[in-house]
Symmetry: C2
Subunit: 233 residues, 2 copies
DNA sequence: AATGCATATATTTTGTAAATTATTTTTTAT
DNA sequence: ATAAAAAATAATTTACAAAATATATGCATT
């Protein structure tokens, strides 16, 4: 009877309260609303959202399982601060999964399970990235960049691979840093060329070419990520 | 079946109740105590363990996040029934991660970060697998088999890779089937040879050889897994 | 007087029980 | 036989209680 008294905005359609809290918090973390290493107090969050502690706790544990935040026994939840080694490790696995995806995409192209026109979406993404970089906020730029890789992963047609890749991305959201615009612009150029090489590898169904362009791209991307991390300190 | 008391306190030092319940349940699932697709009722489990529902729910959600079981909104928790496609997908990612690990292990051997004697542990595991297969229960056999691959993953020195590999293994525990002893014996022979080839690839620091022996092994292993699945229906 | 240890207190996490909400099944009426 | 309504079942959430940890305070010792 006292139902619907709370005002936890946005699509709470058939979702549980814990789920709503989870997606809200994930959004806040991605937007960098919390400082790195900041502790998240269930009680405060509960008060902020106008719900009790249980669903908040549920959400926090879920986020910890997904790698968004870190949970220490009896010592609460903290926003992850990835170390250089962790970033290297994530990039290493990322490379492995992207190689796996490409191998699969090429296989599917060859056996006709995947329409070659699907690759046009990659072209579109690559071009969208090259223009309009100035009036985009950090989150959008990162999202656009991420979409390119996520799309390739999706084309592999392996949901388990996709979910693994996603959870990998979550592990570093706390470490993504706002780079200066000048830095960004030169990066976009390189990234554009590298992405183009990756698309070509897929389109020509040439795994060797795909393999080497992915490795080049990942290596450069790792360098940038490590540089960003060092800048923050 | 016996509604006897489960001693959760055993060695529960520093662990929370939810954690104890989680590991107990994980053990039960691995041992095949639950039927495939069986629904897990929090209330029943709580009664069985003599605790309240909250820690049980916590454990179930944790297990769902790890891929042990499946959770459907408002419809409870179920033991996963992997489909043939899911098994294929898992094996595909498994292969990718094992290739990544091997590449890293060889790199570490070359740069001297990993002692070549570490590989002796793989020899030991391989030999242990070949003998004493008759008086081992299913779980032990699977564990021994799994250890071989897990050890290689560990040698890569990438905790994130290791945790991904682990969660991948969880995704199929519900689908592991008790094979007949005769079937098993012939399998062990093949597996032994394949594992030997994999070790050789690493020891010779020959990635191409490692790559092809892993692919051969995974392909054969996938065939067996799919055959097991088909046997059950 | 300063430092280290021990105890006490306050804060936070974890666990319980009960209430609420959603879903499924059964019953009843058309 | 079908559809609607009510009851039963089970998941979710809340509020409250307990357990555990960190922090602060005080006393003793050097």
């Amino acid at each position: 009877m006292t139902a619907g008294a709370f005002s936890l905005e946005s699509g709470a359609l058939g979702k549980t309260l814990g789920e709503s809290v989870r997606s809200h918090l994930a959004g806040l973390i991605i937007r960098g609303e919390f400082k790195e290493g900041e502790r998240l107090y269930p009680e405060q969050i509960a008060a902020r959202f106008g719900v009790s502690i249980t669903p908040v706790r549920e959400a926090l544990m879920q986020l910890a399982a997904e790698g968004f935040i870190e949970s220490v026994q009896r010592r609460g939840f903290h926003v992850r601060i990835p170390t250089a080694d962790q970033i290297r490790n994530v990039w290493q696995v990322r490379q492995s999964l992207e190689l796996c995806a490409g191998e699969q995409v090429i296989k599917r192209l060859k056996e006709g399970t995947l329409d070659p026109h699907a690759l046009d979406r990659l072209d579109a993404l690559q071009k969208a990235q090259l223009k309009n970089t100035s009036h985009m906020d950090h989150a959008t730029k990162l999202e656009l960049n991420g979409s390119f890789h996520t799309t390739i992963i999706e084309f592999a047609g392996n949901p388990i691979l996709a979910s693994m890749y996603r959870s990998l991305q979550h592990k570093v959201v706390g470490g993504l840093v706002q780079s200066g615009l000048d830095t960004w612009r030169s990066r976009v150029e390189k990234e554009g060329q590298e992405h183009k090489a990756i698309i070509d590898g897929l389109r020509n169904q040439d795994y060797a070419a795909y393999d080497s362009s992915v490795r080049t791209h990942i290596a450069r991307s790792l360098d940038d990520a490590l540089r960003d991390l060092a800048t923050r300190q």
